[in-house]
């Protein structure tokens, strides 16, 4: 779907930056706003250079009120703009929840389609950077419970750019969670090993221009027969590395979009393998893994040869110093794999 074939090496930040750049270039109604996103270019530098290029009325810093950022963006959307607000950390999205749930998500419905809120809310999420309780959360599950918003989570620079462009073009509100642990490189879950960067990864090669990855389509990262692993974001890489290490013939499905979900791909895969592991970093109870488990069970019951297992973060806040004991890493995944494959 690319209309521009020059590829460059990008890390995920650069890919996200490039997606906004491309869309701002193409569509004068796209605007970028958020805390520190203007002159400074964002605390993770995802918006670096955009204000300089597109001016202060299209890329600007905001007051520190997430409720205001989203509320104002909804109004801008109703006017006809296509705002791309940033919430500095996903942990700070809660003050905006009413504007997201009761307003952005419901506006089309309650106005019979007269008004829409075509926002793309970008927000870094997830742990693994010693950010403690309030810089590590994965609240995606909450949004999947809200009818009227889409939830998208990329796992590579290539996907990040293609999905973000699709999200910005989408006429419904999209929550776009960026797994900050892999901004700079894929992460195999072994925190004590040197960090890698994206330059060696095939998905670190990203077209410079416009292309889109449709929302609602999963990506089979690895085909296999032994079991199906459903995952997204950072966990895709942890799962991949773990499976590789164990030499298991797993099929790894990177969901990319949680709502709407690519149920066809999931169903086909589980029906083929008969076994299913779900992996996410968010707390376990009522996390999105629960929905995945329920769906798979409902649709593939007679194909299942073992219980569906969930590997998740624990039902506690993200603890600062015990971060790696909390993180659903290779050991936790290995244990679950053993269990699923045992008979």
């Amino acid at each position: 779907m690319s209309d521009e074939t020059v590829n460059t090496r990008m890390n995920m930040i650069q890919a996200i930056n490039s997606a906004m750049d491309v869309m701002m270039e193409r569509d004068p109604d796209v605007i970028v706003m958020g805390e520190d996103v203007g002159f400074f270019g964002g605390v993770f530098r995802a918006t670096a250079g955009l204000q300089k290029k597109y001016g202060k009325t299209r890329v600007f810093d905001t007051p520190i009120t997430e409720c205001g950022i989203i509320g104002v963006a909804v109004g801008m959307g109703a006017y006809g703009l296509r705002p791309v607000p940033e919430i500095q950390f996903a942990d700070y999205i809660y003050p905006a929840l009413d504007q997201l749930v009761s307003e952005a998500a419901r506006l089309r419905y309650r106005s019979g389609g007269e008004f829409t809120a075509p926002l793309t809310v970008r927000s870094p999420f997830g742990g693994g950077i010693f950010g403690g309780q309030t810089h590590s959360q994965s609240p995606e599950g909450i949004f999947t419970h809200v009818s009227g918003v889409k939830t998208v989570i990329p796992s590579t620079p290539y996907d990040a750019k293609g999905l973000l462009i699709a999200a910005i073009e989408d006429n419904d509100p999209v929550i776009f969670f960026e797994p900050k642990r892999i901004y700079n490189g894929p992460f195999d879950g072994r925190y004590d090993k040197p960090a890698r960067n994206w330059s060696a990864h095939p998905a670190g090669e990203v077209p410079e221009g416009y292309y889109r990855i449709p929302l609602g389509k999963a990506n089979i990262v690895r085909e296999g027969e032994a079991l199906t692993v459903l995952c997204y974001g950072t966990m895709v890489h942890v799962v991949e590395a773990t499976i590789e290490g164990l030499g298991i013939d797993a099929e790894i499905v990177d969901l990319r979009t949680l709502v709407p979900l690519d149920i066809e791909t999931i169903e086909a895969s589980v029906k083929k393998t008969g076994r299913c592991l779900i992996v996410h970093e968010a707390t376990r109870t009522s996390g999105f893994g629960a929905e995945l488990s329920a769906l798979v069970q409902e649709r593939c019951f007679y194909h299942l040869e073992a219980p569906i297992e969930r590997v998740t973060g624990f039902d506690t806040p993200y603890p600062h110093s015990l971060e790696w004991a909390y993180f659903p890493g290779p050991v936790r995944i290995t244990e679950a794999l053993k269990k699923i494959l045992k008979d």
Partner: protein, 424 residues
């Protein structure tokens, strides 16, 4: 702290909990309410700095005096035809409210909310704003739609959730959405429209448009965080927006003291943000008109936002679910010292020799007929009480997203199966 180590001999603290002046059974005495005379408030230049007229946040812009004369610098000098049109729209709003309230009581719909006594606030704004300025109302600004000439039948269709309802029965009655009349979808969640209006206004400014935005909330609703976000954004980006606070003294059963009225005015919030603030006699349609026009002109010339407190009184219950006799004195409404907005404009027109009792009575009759006819027309499309099937069942799944994803298609199919099973 060495110097504080031993407990000092201190007096006990006390918690102050506000209490309204009058409760059921009390007789009402408004004599300590300070009401500046009509015409006494100065009218600053359009480009005056907000901090040069702080006093306007504490006084009351009033145009109509006790005799019905329009006095002072805010008097807008409107043509009698226009005044009659405004009078008519206030009366039409009231007639509409009466009828729809009754319709709810008759079981024709689930819910209704009147704006009785507050008609001037919305009707004046409709005249002072341009037709394509965007309104982000709360639920008591039906006068905007009516004054912008929107179809009563269409409004009633929404109230009845009937076949003609453009919102397909999805919204609670009175939660209109009329894009064609510059009337934003009303939310059931208080004050969420405030930052949205600011965002719309910012977008208009960013695009070099000429249209401005206006929004309304009740005095009780000013306590929500959204109010603060909105005022902060409006002040930071000098958004071309008018922020209206309709202080009708009550928020369901809680008097304005629970929103802070014991400490200062609501217009004073503007002072806190360094934006223009006005306090206006909300039952004086000329004052509301003049203030809104002034604020609109400021917004249109990049002078930024204005917050207007409309001092008025909620003459009826909060909604059809409410019984105000439980918590306030029955006399409060009739004794309200700023009178009734319709009666006051009528008095003014009569004083001008442009109106009389007969014409007024005739108008009331005609409006009652108009509303009745509209209701009949609307009821042809069905009423809520007549059952579920004013709208196709499938419509429930539409407009969640632009395109219906698989899970909604599946659920829709499931629901249709169900309805078949149930014999519907």
């Amino acid at each position: 702290m060495a110097q504080n180590e031993g407990r000092r001999n201190l007096r006990s603290l006390e918690l102050h909990v506000p209490e309204p002046k009058f409760r059921p059974g009390d007789s009402v005495d408004y004599s300590d309410l300070v009401i500046p005379p009509a015409g006494s408030a100065p009218r600053p230049d359009i480009d005056a700095r907000p901090d040069s007229f702080h006093e306007l946040a504490y006084s009351l812009v009033r145009v109509l005096d006790e005799k019905g004369n329009a006095v002072g610098p805010w008097a807008p000098r409107l043509a009698p035809d226009l005044l009659r049109e405004m009078l008519r729209n206030m009366a039409l709003t009231r007639a509409f409210d009466e009828r729809m309230f009754r319709a709810q009581r008759q079981g024709k719909t689930s819910f209704y909310m009147k704006c009785t006594g507050e008609e001037a606030v919305a009707v004046a704004a409709a005249y002072a704003l341009d037709r394509d300025d965007m309104c982000f109302p709360a639920y008591r600004q039906q006068g905007l739609l009516i004054s912008r000439g929107w179809s009563l039948v269409d409004m009633m269709n929404q109230i009845y959730s009937n076949k003609g309802d453009r919102l397909k029965g999805k919204q609670l009655p009175i939660m209109y959405s009329v894009k064609d009349a510059g009337f934003f979808s009303i939310s059931g969640n208080l004050t969420t429209q405030y930052p949205q209006a600011v965002g719309w206004a910012m977008a208009s400014a960013a695009k070099g448009d000429t249209r401005i935005a206006a929004t309304w909330c009740g005095e009780g609703s000013t306590a929500e965080g959204d109010f603060h976000s909105a005022c902060t954004f409006a002040s930071v980006y000098r958004a071309p927006v008018i922020l209206n606070v309709v202080n009708n003294q009550w928020a369901i059963s809680s008097f304005s003291g629970f929103a802070g009225a014991e400490s200062t005015t609501f217009a004073a919030r503007a002072v806190g943000y360094g934006i223009a603030g006005l306090r206006v006699d909300g039952n004086d349609i000329l004052a509301v008109y003049a203030a809104t026009e002034w604020a609109a002109e400021r917004a249109r010339t990049n002078q930024g936002p204005t917050l207007i407190e409309h001092f008025t009184y909620r003459a009826e219950g909060h909604s059809t679910s409410d019984d105000p006799s439980q918590y306030r004195s029955a006399d409060e409404s009739s004794e309200w010292p700023l009178g009734d907005p319709i009666a006051r404009l009528k008095q003014h027109l009569v004083a001008l020799g442009e109106w009389d009792e007969e014409r007024h009575a005739a108008m009331d009759l005609e409006l009652a007929e108009t509303v009745k006819a509209a209701a009949k027309e609307s009821e042809k499309n069905g009423i809520l009480g007549h059952g579920l099937n004013n709208h196709p069942f499938e419509s429930m799944f539409e407009d969640v997203f632009e395109e219906m994803p698989w899970h909604l298609r599946e659920q829709c199919a499931q629901m249709l199966e169900e309805q078949k099973a149930a014999g519907l």
